[in-house]
């Protein structure tokens, strides 16, 4: 989809260097597209200036959908469509509906969250992720900078990366 993009890719060996580098590079006004790391780096989200995900709000809404659907389904089924006497209780009585309501709340919240996450992250079948550097799954932290987002030239950005402790600076075109 997004073809012919030019990226400058910085490779970092150490997460402390990386954290300071992110601060330094952003301080120079360079926009970082993404940082890939083999393990979660504490504080990386903050220095990258990411906003908090709104996924919890989506989860809450999906959960509420699950709750309402479950209650409506059970009240309609057991109260109106096919009333049955179970244990001498009223047709539509709340307590026995609670476990099912709970399960459907959790189910819809979980599925909704995963599907939302996939859509937001643009993950779909037959879509191959862009690999900036395969070593980001092993022992290197990989920083991708999109040239289209930045006014500076390739060489200037490469120099800034080097100044901030990058062990290598590569180029990547997709």
């Amino acid at each position: 989809m997004e073809s012919n993009k030019n990226f400058v890719v910085g490779i970092f060996n150490d997460e402390d260097v990386l954290l300071h580098a992110v601060e330094g590079i952003r301080g120079k006004g360079v926009k970082i597209q993404e940082v890939f790391s083999p393990f979660p780096v504490h504080g990386l989200d903050e220095v990258l200036g990411y906003k908090r995900s709104r996924l919890p709000i989506a989860a809450f809404l999906f959960g509420m959908t699950g709750t309402s659907l479950a209650l409506l389904m059970q009240i309609w089924m057991l109260g109106y469509d096919w009333p049955m006497i179970i244990g001498g209780k009223d047709h539509a009585s709340l307590p026995p509906f609670i476990p099912v309501t709970f399960e459907l709340t959790v189910l819809l919240a979980a599925f909704g969250m995963v599907i939302t996450f996939f859509i937001v992250s643009d993950m779909k079948p037959y879509k191959w992720p862009r690999q900036f550097d395969l070593r980001s799954t092993d022992d290197k932290h990989v920083m991708a900078i999109d040239l289209a987002d930045n006014k500076l030239s390739k060489d200037e950005i490469g120099q800034i990366l080097k100044d901030n402790g990058a062990s290598e600076v590569n180029e990547k075109n997709f």
Binding site: H42, R52, P56, F60, G87, G88, P95, P96, I98
Partner: protein, 458 residues
């Protein structure tokens, strides 16, 4: 790295707490006065009505086995009527005393339980706040004395099974079911004599809890002076042993002190239920004190991340309590066995308790669930200081509804008397806890996990 911090129990705070206690005593006196003026008529009017209401209620809920339930209900009312030793007012005071005592004893013991959990789990985040549960734990010896003294005062007025006639085979009051359970109270003595097994259990439990509290406290304070990891390891060993003991003793004390009031009734969930209620109340108390100290400028190394953890504890265990509550309710509701449902009929469908039954769920589940759901709510002092008192008061109502209906039947009430006693207990409790807190370093000095806690980040 860590500055010395000592909590100063200021004279103004002391004065305010004492005023709270005096207000409590005045409200209690007012409540007693009001109740004594309307008591006589009330009793006569409610006597017949109570049995009737319970029959009505069981008709509604227990369709097929209605007659059985009604008969049981009536029989029980009559039997209870025979035994009325003290006047309803005295019984009401005793019930409220016992309820407040059990409620606050629970918070005290949860202080120690919280510390034990932290050691057993090798938790690092809690290192700077451990002195607060430690101070709460200093209520344990007082709770022990109060429990034993109050028990000997209230005896048969609160505990129906203490009546001697229940165990005399020829007597009209002979109760086969209670006689069958009597070994739990009277062993090895004769049924209906002195409940030696019960009293010994009470003394042993408080004795064990106090012993472990002393041992763990000793290690925690010695660590301030000596440093090293040896004290931490020892405290962890004591904690692990304590947790095993507490697993058994918390359940048994719940049966003894709360469930045995409704002597005929039993629930296998009850030990867990009382524990869940104690635990979430204790967590709310710890969180509230931490948030308040933070607000007052203490606990400098406690940041949003530590508050977040405490908030998650209160949030999660409010849901846990609801799960246990519902687990107990659903089984009894569905099985619909009269001898079990009578417990909920007394609470759900009987006049003075019905609104508390629903308020209980609202205060202890709906409010904490919605208010603490977002990340920001758990991370900020202001929200925690709103939610924690709600949870504490909510669980006070929970204990009210566990204890009062079983003793007072339809004559129970909730008014200045109960609120006054709650405030009196609360002021006494706060005074003891804050005094204990002001006597030691507010933050452990050489805790081996302090560094981890300072870098805690979630």
């Amino acid at each position: 790295m860590i500055a010395d911090e000592i909590y100063v129990f200021k004279p103004e705070t002391k004065r305010n707490i004492i005023i709270l206690g005096i207000v409590g005593i005045l409200l209690f006196a007012l409540g007693v006065f009001i109740a004594s003026r309307s008591g006589g008529h009330h009793e006569a009017a409610e006597g017949g009505h109570g049995g009737h209401a319970s029959v009505e209620a069981s008709k509604h809920l227990v369709a097929s086995t209605e007659q059985h339930a009604a008969a049981e209900g009536k029989g029980h009312e009559a039997a209870a009527g025979e035994h009325h030793g003290s006047s309803p007012l005295v019984k009401r005071i005793f019930t409220s005393l016992w309820q407040n005592n059990i409620f606050f004893a629970g918070i005290g013991i949860i202080g120690l339980f919280f510390i034990a959990i932290q050691y057993a789990a090798q938790a690092g985040w809690s290192a700077p706040i451990k002195r607060i549960p430690l101070a709460i734990g200093s209520w344990i010896p007082i709770a022990g004395i109060l429990t034993i003294v109050i028990w000997f005062v209230v005896k048969e007025d609160v505990f129906h099974w203490m009546h001697h006639d229940l165990y005399v085979k020829d007597s009209a009051d002979y109760d086969k079911i209670i006689d069958g359970k009597a070994g739990m109270f009277f062993w090895p003595l004769a049924h209906g004599s002195f409940p030696i097994f019960y009293v010994v259990r009470m003394v042993v439990f408080f004795g064990l809890w106090y012993m472990f509290f002393t041992w763990i406290k000793k290690e925690m304070l010695a660590e301030d002076i000596n440093g090293g990891t040896l004290h931490w390891i020892k405290a962890r060993k004591f904690s692990a042993i304590f947790l095993v003991i507490f697993a058994v003793s918390s359940s048994v004390s719940a049966w003894d002190w709360v469930m045995s009031i409704d002597t005929h009734w039993f629930s296998t969930m009850f030990g867990w239920y009382v524990f869940a209620s104690w635990w979430v109340t204790g967590l709310a108390t710890i969180t509230f004190i931490v948030a308040t100290l933070k607000n007052a400028g203490y606990l400098k190394m406690v940041n949003h991340n530590h508050l977040h953890d405490l908030g998650k504890f209160v949030f999660a265990f409010s849901i846990f309590w609801t799960y246990i509550w519902f687990g107990q309710f659903l089984l009894i509701y569905y099985a619909n066995i009269p001898e079990e449902t009578v417990y909920f009929i007394q609470r759900m469908r009987t006049a003075p308790y019905s609104w508390i039954f629903y308020a209980n769920l609202f205060l202890n589940f709906v409010l904490p669930f919605l208010l603490l759901m977002t990340r920001d709510a758990k991370r900020h002092v202001s929200m925690l200081r709103v939610v924690c008192p709600i949870v504490i008061v909510g669980h006070w109502f929970d204990f009210y509804n566990m204890i009062t209906p079983g003793v007072m039947k339809t004559e129970g009430g909730i008014g200045f008397l109960e609120i006054g006693l709650f405030l009196t207990f609360a002021s006494f409790f706060l005074f003891v806890v804050l005094t204990a807190l002001s006597k030691v370093q507010l933050v452990a000095k050489h805790h081996p996990m302090m560094g981890e806690s300072l870098n805690h980040h979630i």
